[in-house]
Amino acid sequence: MKNLIKEFSKGITVLNPTFGLILGLCPTLAVSTSLFNALGMGVAATFVLVFSNLIISALRNFIPGRIRLPAYIVIIATFVTMCELAIKAYLPALGQSLGIFIPLIVVNCIIMARAEAFASRNPVLPSIFDGLGMGIGFTLGISIIAFIRELLGSGSIAGFGLLKSNEFILVMILAPGALLTMGLLIALSRLLGITKK
């Protein structure tokens, strides 16, 4: 049990995908324009991470070493397609604003990295906890960025307007703001010692 808690918590702190490992950057920066989008992307990526970790670790003794990467890609792409169809059917507004970044979860480096580095070497239960921890760490990272960007860029939190003024820092919800926020947050997490270099 202690071991499982360790596997779960490392994804949130030391090996946080966003600020520690610095993986999966494209969706992190592209969809963090509002908290709602960020949470949607986080939940979708967590779903894919948990289930692809589960299947890959259950099949780890059957997949031949030489063709393991294509096999992982097919497993991951299957769950991404399921996710894409579900979002399009039940949350069309979210699907519209996430756009091509839903199919691009396939090439999110975090999922491939966990499959290769963890799920292919460990039993099913720790792999599920690893996927869950990494997914929640990713959701947390992307939500923090989205919170800052949305607050400064459009003066609202998850769509609820807070400030009456119309003068916001528009650049924060555009591309340069994303890169700036990301750079400063990584530096901050290193300064506070949450993640290491």
Partner: protein
């Protein structure tokens, strides 16, 4: 196939909608290989090459296999497999026939499979040029043009960044800002400069 449409795709892909600096596609390799100009150049060429050919293959498969069989919803799985197989094939072919080129591109080729810019341009092509009823041949032609210029845009951003990062090595940055964080800030300023192009009306 009008020439004006080609020019507008070119300017849009290289400057206005630059894949790295305004669409955030391919950021991982952008930060990973932008330390030296030489490596950045090799990676850029490899990306352009893979992007153009995978755009051709994916649009052919989409138009002539997935749509007639009515399984267009499986495109993500098909596309990523096509790209992975193509990259693997290219790697083997280059290793066999041109050791010199293999030495220059070799280690960057496998990385390209998980470069979201390659899959991204394939999906964008399908969304933009393959609406039901649109002529297929023109769609394939525009897809290749779009992929080529998206690759050039990727190359331009990567080369600019590597030039700056080579000089950054000699500057005195605070220890928690060293490496990746300061690279992000530089990229942010570059992206701000590229936003100047977004005023273009095409």
């Amino acid at each position: 196939m009008e020439i004006s449409k080609i020019i507008s795709i070119a300017i849009s892909m290289v400057f206005i909608n630059n894949f790295i600096l305004s669409k955030f596609l391919g950021l991982c390799s952008f930060l990973g290989v932008s330390r030296q100009t030489k490596a950045a150049f090799s990676m850029g060429i490899a990306v352009v090459f893979v992007m153009v050919f995978s755009a051709l293959l994916t649009s052919l498969v989409y138009a002539f296999i997935l749509v007639p069989l009515n399984i267009a919803y499986l495109r993500t799985i098909f596309f990523i497999l096509i790209i992975a197989a193509f990259v693997q094939f290219i790697e083997m072919a280059i290793r066999k026939h041109s050791p010199l080129l293999y030495k220059a591109l070799g280690i960057y080729l496998p990385l390209i499979t998980t470069n979201c810019a390659v899959l991204g341009v394939a999906i964008l092509n399908i969304n933009e040029f393959f609406a039901p009823g649109a002529p297929v041949i023109t769609g394939i032609f525009y897809s290749i043009i779009q992929a080529f210029f998206a690759g050039i845009g990727f190359c331009v951003a990567l080369l600019l960044m590597s030039g700056i990062r080579e000089r950054l090595e000699f500057t005195d940055t605070p220890s928690s800002m060293k490496g990746i964080p300061v690279a992000f800030i530089v990229a942010s300023i570059m992206s701000l400069a590229f936003m100047g192009f977004s005023g273009f009306k095409l």
